[in-house]
Point group: C2
Chain length 164, copies 2
DNA sequence: TATTGTTATACTCTATAACTATA
DNA sequence: TATAGTTATAGAGTATAACAATA
């Protein structure tokens, strides 16, 4: 168990990491704020899903999810299909334009991070990712979905954000 | 240098850490939102300072700092003294009531983190603090260093022109 | 009656720009 | 003219509550 001073420092770092997030937000494409980018990213990683599932992954209220999704859908980046199994639900799916947008997002964030973290080793970045993932999990975050981040690109037919 | 997939994952974690921050925000005392808490914390940690210095530590615009400070001052948690060396400046100082509020803040955040991170070792927390601190340092003065974006792949996008 | 999703409303945080007071 | 700080305005993100459609 850590000490009080450490917890206070962690709280400070959590508060201050907003500056990094804002910096990332400044290089987003036009009409694609952070909320939209998160929607596209999660759909790209986890595939088609319902609103409620997306809200869970975003860890925000469904009303917030609805707004972000409406924004993204209005720009043609996703489509909302009726769920044959439950007419109340809507299945979200990336469009080809959405895949392009997602690729542009990936290119920009990758470029920014590669520049800012030029002196970080692969292991440094991996450690930070692992600890942040664990932090979210410790806060009762249901988002720890089986994300096959490692390298399972066995097939290219599904929506993978066109990396490489 | 890390790889693209790693950078994408880090971007996702940065986006998602907002859920943790919101969870922390929910246990703040009445009339003390996150912005106010950050002001009190930084004054408690670094001692009396001017607005411009506080804005730098907060990593937000001075106008934002001014609003937070006004909120905190209106509740009697800090005082704004004239700077004898520069009459444009104001020296910020915690009041006894501010110190009490700061202690309450510390108690609540420590309690929450101690509960959420019950299975974290002292070293785990230290590693996360170190890496987040380094992350912020690597982004440094992100506000004054606009990033040059790579050229879009094929289509002509409507990006902000030149920006110079 | 419960659940899925949308919409209305309000609040927090932030940046830009215009403004004042002083250097 | 330049700087420290304030205020007005606008935009993004979020949560709560009321609502509609379906289970």
């Amino acid at each position: 168990m850590a000490e009080r001073a450490q917890f206070e420092e962690l709280a400070r770092q959590l508060s201050a990491v907003g500056a990094v997030k804002r910096d990332m937000g400044r290089i987003l494409p036009p009409d694609c704020p952070a909320g939209s980018a998160a929607v596209l990213t999660l759909l790209g990683r986890h595939g088609d899903m319902r609103m409620s599932k997306l809200a869970e992954l975003l860890a925000v209220d469904m009303s917030v999810t609805s707004r972000h999704v409406a924004h993204v859908a209005a720009r043609g980046w996703i489509e909302r299909h009726p769920d044959p199994a439950d007419k109340r639900s809507r299945i979200l799916r990336l469009t080809p334009a959405g895949l392009e947008q997602l690729d542009e997002l990936s290119r920009r964030t990758t470029h920014l991070l590669a520049e800012r973290l030029a002196d970080w080793t692969d292991e440094d970045v991996g450690d930070l990712i692992r600890l942040m993932t664990r932090l979210r999990a410790s806060f009762g975050d249901c988002r720890s979905a089986p994300l096959r981040l490692p390298e399972p690109v066995s097939e290219e037919t599904t929506r993978t954000p066109a990396s490489t």
